[in-house]
């Protein structure tokens, strides 16, 4: 028998969308584990983020006497040439740093993941060491290397060629040092994406007659667009916010940036929270624009499932004749970003006070700083405290970020963009405002939070959530939705699907995020210094105090120990990640 539509009565449905039926469609009754997890995570996230965020907005728009207004913006950005110069400097610096660090970080990520470049292991080290070296030492290390007067590099070129070409006290110096400092996160985010993308698409491009450059711009880069956009955004915001580099390198050359203004405001009494907040709100607007733009440029995150479960085979490209040159490039970068600063660190950790390298200094070398370090219960204790807080915060942030990214990447609705922007906002809340916000809330909560390590745990989890989100959503968006769906249809519960399918596939990115948060937790000072508990110092506070005490060389020793400790941790976790993820041939 043959049935046609003509045999059936006409239905109203055929005249257009059946909007009226939408309401009835809700899945009533069954509330699954998935929904509970999502609700809990969303609530926790909202709580963690909104506490400082609402505080920021409140302090920005409401003066201490209770009147609402925009005077904070007038204080933070008075309408004069000074402000415009400051904004111009800031944008030039941030944009320059973004471009340079994207080129460096992205280039090396491509080399490391997609080619047979030699010394690959060095690159993953180069991606982490600059992050671990205490910020308070990193900029001075570059002064010792690149200052026009005393820079080691100038001494070398001066001796060899009679010229002193380097001047780290300049916009270029600032951009260079900041880029070396930001390149790691670009490298880490992009290597996860490159690792996951399918080389056969590039091969197809080659076969279709595209040149190398066009394959790069038309195929390779678009494939990793979400990671690319996310990394660019983070690096840009980081450059807007960094303190040490502009103050060390920019100020002596007369370059004032946004953070100089922030510092100026911090010093005032009574603290002009309205103006500080206004800068935070300004950054927030930029960040929201960025999230939106990254969403547009990067395409919708959900579309880029490159691990599709279809003949997916990561392969490395043979560099051929270019291989030795690429190897040289990697070595050069390693020397510049890792070896030189680390050597300066190691050298000064063996001294009592810093002096220029030379024969005369050899006699002063000793291990005294290391003896002090390991025998001082305060310093050892601060390592323990930080380790506890950092591991907990990194774990909590990645758990939250992974679930939140899943919501952003995998579900529809207006809420997900909001969630995306919300989880990004802690990145732009100035450290002081952040610290004060947590103090204000938890001083009034009778739970044992203020005055314990818990408040630092909350602070780090919240502050570093944005990094976790970028890592997790970049990792998740590379996993094709069908891999999850096939597990569901095969009868796996949501939880099982997450655990057995999605997480293992996203593991390299998620563990990468965990490592990153662990490392930056060791650095965090701005809110730590306000919130730490006497007797329970964390490493960043110890470093700050030792530095203030004039023990810069002891701080160098702490830096060396940190580099060793965290490198071991990182290598261990990367080994685990490599076991879980898809292996490249």
């Amino acid at each position: 028998m043959s049935t046609t539509l003509a045999d059936r009565p006409e239905r109203p449905a055929e005249t257009g969308p059946v909007r009226s039926q939408r309401v009835t469609r809700r899945r009533a009754g069954r509330f699954e584990a998935k929904h509970i997890v999502i609700a809990v995570v969303v609530l926790l996230l909202a709580y963690l983020v909104l506490v400082p965020l609402i505080f920021l907005l409140w302090k920005t728009f409401v003066a201490d006497d209770g009147t609402a207004g925009l005077s904070g913006f007038a204080h933070a950005f008075p309408d004069n040439a000074d402000t415009w110069a400051m904004v111009g400097n800031t944008l030039a610096f941030a944009f320059g740093s973004m471009v340079v660090s994207m080129v460096i970080g992205g280039g090396f990520a491509y080399l490391a993941e997609r080619t047979d470049v030699p010394f690959r292991r060095l690159l993953s080290l180069a991606a982490l060491v600059p992050l671990i070296i205490p910020a308070i030492l990193y900029a001075p290390a570059w002064i010792f290397l690149g200052s026009a007067n005393i820079g080691l590099m100038n001494n070398v070129t001066g001796f060899l060629f009679g010229i002193r070409p380097f001047d780290v006290y300049s916009v270029w110096g600032m951009i260079w040092v900041q880029s070396l400092h930001s390149a790691p996160i670009v490298f880490l985010l992009l290597s996860a994406a490159f690792r996951a993308s399918d080389p056969s698409m590039e091969e197809a491009g080659r076969v279709a007659g595209l040149g190398g450059w066009r394959v790069l711009t038309r195929i390779t880069l678009p494939m990793v667009k979400p990671a690319l956009a996310g990394a660019a955004l983070i690096v840009f915001i980081q450059s807007l916010e960094v303190f040490e580099i502009p103050t060390f390198l920019g100020l002596p050359a007369g370059h004032y940036v946004l953070t100089s203004r922030l510092y100026y405001l911090y010093q005032q009494y009574p603290t002009d929270y309205q103006a500080v907040g206004a800068i935070g709100v300004g950054l927030l607007v930029i960040a929201c624009l960025g999230v939106w733009l990254a969403g547009r440029v990067g395409g919708s995150l959900r579309e880029s499932g490159t691990i599709s479960g279809k003949a997916f085979r990561p392969r490395r490209k043979k560099l051929g004749r270019a291989r030795p040159w690429a190897g040289l490039l990697v070595l050069g970068y390693f020397v510049l970003a890792v070896a030189l600063p680390l050597l300066i660190l190691l050298y000064s950790s063996l001294l009592k006070t810093y002096e220029q390298p030379g024969i005369h200094a050899l006699g002063d070398l000793s291990l005294n700083n290391y003896r002090t370090l390991f025998s001082d219960p305060g310093i050892v204790g601060s390592f323990e405290n930080t380790m506890i807080v950092a591991v907990c915060a990194a774990t909590a942030a990645m758990v939250l970020a992974t679930v939140a990214s899943w919501i952003v990447v995998r579900t529809g609705g207006a809420g997900r963009r909001f969630l995306d922007a919300l989880t990004f906002s802690p990145l732009v809340i100035p450290g002081l405002v952040f610290g004060v916000a947590l103090a204000v809330v938890y001083l009034r909560v009778s739970l044992p939070i203020y005055g314990t390590l818990v408040i630092l745990f909350i602070a780090y989890t919240t502050r570093f959530l944005p990094y976790g989100m970028r890592y997790a959503s970049a990792a998740l968006s590379t996993v094709s939705r069908e891999l999850e769906e096939s597990a569901q249809v095969a009868g796996a519960r949501w939880f099982t699907t997450m655990r057995r399918v999605l997480l293992p596939l996203a593991a390299p990115g998620v563990i990468g995020g965990w490592v990153y948060i662990l490392i930056v937790s060791f650095r965090e000072l701005q809110s730590s210094i306000l919130l730490y508990t006497p007797g329970k110092e964390v490493v960043s506070v110890t470093i700050f105090q030792q530095y203030q005490d004039g023990n810069a060389t002891l701080v160098s020793a702490i830096g060396v120990v940190l580099v060793l400790l965290l490198t071991v941790l990182v290598v261990v976790s990367q080994t685990i990640a490599a076991r879980r993820g898809v292996r490249a041939e």
């Binding site: 709580y47 002596p252 100026y264 603290t271 809420g415 005055g451 006497p534 005490d549 004039g550």
Partner: protein, 370 residues
């Protein structure tokens, strides 16, 4: 896949945020304040050995003392000596002056004072006193402290001296000008560092030249502008003293005396200090809301007596040198001192001086508070 629950997300989030703010509004109060006042009153009239014995006995039963400090010599030297002498456990919170103030104000706002003693500089102490947070320090020891080191709120334990420090490998003492006007010479361009936070030093110079030397505002401005043309603006005394020592620049105009170690280091020198040398007064005060008032007083007493030796060793100028056997001052007799105008700095005028200094550094006008 889940789709619809996201629609309600915004509402959920808003509810949580409001909840968080509301929870922040209720606040537990503390009853420490009255107990501490009574204790301070009780010990105020006691003297010498009697006072010390009574304080030690009470402090021992209190068991510990919590210090909020800015001074870097307290932790390595003074606290161990105090703990050793009295057997009272000391916990320390240490930060910069602004951070210290912020933390105390937050804790006070929530009625949860966490510290017994605050140790910071004159203008900060004045701010805390305006907020009614610190108790006046009363003791017979104050008689040995010169009047210049006392403010309404504070009995100073030491001074921080601001003066030029130079790198001896790059300049000889003879080359250094005797006063600030000498640095207007173009040969100093980019070689004389000033910290962008040192507006108190700038105000001190102003007070010295206009009030003590009778210079007109216009002349002062003219002099400072010509000197400022040579400034190398830096941030952070500690870090830049390191760079000074490494030879990155030869002179740090507004550096601190205590960064030149008392012995051993020959690279840094403050010889032939410029006139005037400006002084900040710093000291320790008990908190009104202290949980351990006797221990707090005991520490403040200790700070003005036995700790003086350690403060002196650390490069500070002690206010009670009678507590140091065989004391010889580091700065020569006859050095001209100007004291920080802490009253102005703790008022709205302080911000005006900050703005004026910032303008001077950037080559903008006006360079005096309006």
């Amino acid at each position: 896949m889940l789709k619809k629950p996201m629609g309600g997300l915004a509402g959920l989030v808003a509810a949580v945020g409001i909840g968080a703010l509301l929870s922040a509004c209720g606040s537990p109060a503390t009853a420490n304040t009255q107990a501490a006042q009574d204790a301070y009153a009780k010990y105020a009239s006691m003297k010498g050995k009697t006072r010390e014995d009574a304080l030690v006995a009470a402090a021992k039963s209190e068991g510990s003392v919590s210090l909020y400090i800015t001074n870097s010599a307290i932790k390595p030297e003074i606290v161990p000596a105090f703990e050793k002498k009295y057997g009272i456990k000391v916990t320390i919170y240490r930060a910069t002056t602004e951070q210290l103030r912020t933390r105390i104000l937050q804790e006070a706002g929530a009625h949860r004072i966490q510290n017994d003693v605050v140790e910071t500089k004159d203008s900060e102490m004045a701010i805390l006193d305006q907020k009614g947070l610190i108790a006046p320090y009363q003791s017979d020891i104050t008689a040995q402290v010169p009047d210049e080191a006392k403010t309404d709120d504070l009995v100073g334990a030491y001074y921080i001296a601001t003066l030029p420090i130079h790198n001896t490998k790059q300049v000889q003492p003879g080359e250094l000008p005797k006063d600030i006007a000498g640095y207007a010479d173009p040969k100093w361009k980019g070689k004389i560092a000033v910290d962008q936070g040192d507006f108190n030093w700038y105000e001190d110079l102003y007070n010295y030249y206009t009030k003590q030397k009778g210079m007109s505002d216009a002349d002062f401005v003219k002099m400072m502008k010509s000197v400022a043309a040579n400034f190398r603006v830096v941030d952070g005394h500690v870090a830049n003293t390191q760079l000074l020592q490494a030879g990155d620049f030869p002179v740090f105009l507004s550096d601190f005396l205590h960064y030149v170690p008392a012995n051993g280091n020959t690279t840094l020198s403050f010889e032939q200090p410029m006139t005037p040398v400006t002084l900040q007064i710093l000291g320790a005060n008990p908190m009104k809301g202290a949980a351990h008032p006797a221990a707090a007083l005991l520490f403040c007493d200790f700070y003005l007596t036995e700790a003086q030796k350690y403060l002196n060793d650390a490069g500070y100028i002690p206010t009670n040198p009678s507590a140091i056997p065989g004391y010889t001052p580091r700065l020569p007799e006859g050095t001209t001192f100007v004291y920080d105008d802490w009253k102005t700095l703790a008022s709205d005028k302080g911000n005006a001086w900050q703005q004026a200094w910032s303008n001077l550094l950037k080559g903008q006008d006006p360079v005096l508070p309006q």
